[in-house]
Symmetry: C2
Subunit: 203 residues, 2 copies
């Protein structure tokens, strides 16, 4: 294996092992030795790539930010209405958090920063505000309040995910069914039959 390629493999092994340990017991409870053991990397090799455990955490945070930026870019440039954009975006974020331990560990680290938490909520608020302006929400719905509830629910599902038998993706379906059923216009629900909320509701 050429040297540069080998270095990449080692770096990747460190990042994945750190993510798995942070995901399992949290950043604070993970000693460097656990990362070394899980990655099979020597201390010397570790320090060649990262000055500290904090530096691995910072790399995880940067990586997840890149993943989200790409997903945001993809869904907001597809020409969907803002409410559908919010639904698809949240569904993809939830799926990735469920299946990708590296992104999940990075996201957990990033969410320790209140500004990151607030920024996600602002992005969603923007989509729901725009949904209201485009007449996709019932007139009595306050998009800011609705986003607060939606966002709290998504955070709660993640917190509870360890103790619940059903997966986050299924729970997100339930959330949308309930919340879209309460905020979207009958027109929007009729026009979006693929959305779980679009089950017929007696009036």
């Amino acid at each position: 294996m050429p040297q540069q390629r080998r270095a990449q493999v080692t770096r990747r092994a460190i990042v994945i092992a750190a993510a798995e340990e942070f995901d399992r017991v949290g950043f604070d409870a993970t000693p460097l030795s656990a990362i070394l053991r899980r990655s099979g990397v020597t201390k010397g090799a570790f320090y060649f790539h990262f000055p500290s455990k904090d530096a691995v955490a910072a790399a995880l945070v940067r990586f997840q930010a890149q993943v989200w930026a790409k997903i945001w870019q993809r869904w907001t440039s597809r020409g969907l209405d803002p409410l559908s954009t919010a639904v698809e975006l949240v569904d993809e974020v939830v799926r990735i958090l469920e299946h990708d331990v590296v992104v999940r560990a990075g996201a957990r680290l990033a969410m320790r920063d209140q500004d990151t938490v607030a920024r996600w909520e602002q992005l969603l608020t923007g989509l729901l505000r725009s949904s209201a302006e485009n007449g996709l929400l019932r007139p009595e719905v306050d998009p800011v309040a609705a986003t607060r509830v939606l966002y709290a629910t998504l955070v709660g599902v993640r917190v509870l995910s360890a103790s619940r038998a059903i997966g986050a993706a299924q729970q997100t379906g339930e959330i949308w069914r309930l919340i879209l059923g309460g905020i979207a216009t009958a027109d929007w629900l009729r026009n979006n039959p693929s959305v779980p909320a679009a089950a017929p509701r007696p009036s």
Copy 2:
């Protein structure tokens, strides 16, 4: 001050100081010295009342369990319909968690036990199941799924409470408005004008 009364005052000072510190930085990050400093109690006096920091935590957990048992007893014996019972019960729990640091610290400790988390959800599920059986929920609503969403939202609001400008009680109002609006029958909403969700909704 008679000796027994003085002992009670000291014990109470320890419990309150511990609750305030646990609430501020968490149980793990609170050294015994911080509890002594905040309570103004000597180490000797502390150990007269509690064998360890863990024992104070256990006392806080027992205390919050007693508070919830009383509240549960009060609301379920009032003859309200099960959906109104759920609304009133949750509102009181949220208010107490917001204003009483001793109960809040105890609840936070108790929620580290997955069984406690699951038990709260079971209690709420029971009320919503019974609401469905009594025809208070729209026929297409799955009470178990609706409780999962509701409970996740309540947990999320607590997790986010530090970073949000509005109080938990106001947010609970928003949650009920949105969720009851999505699950309760039009009849129930009409008959419960004091519930925030009962704002008129265009059909």
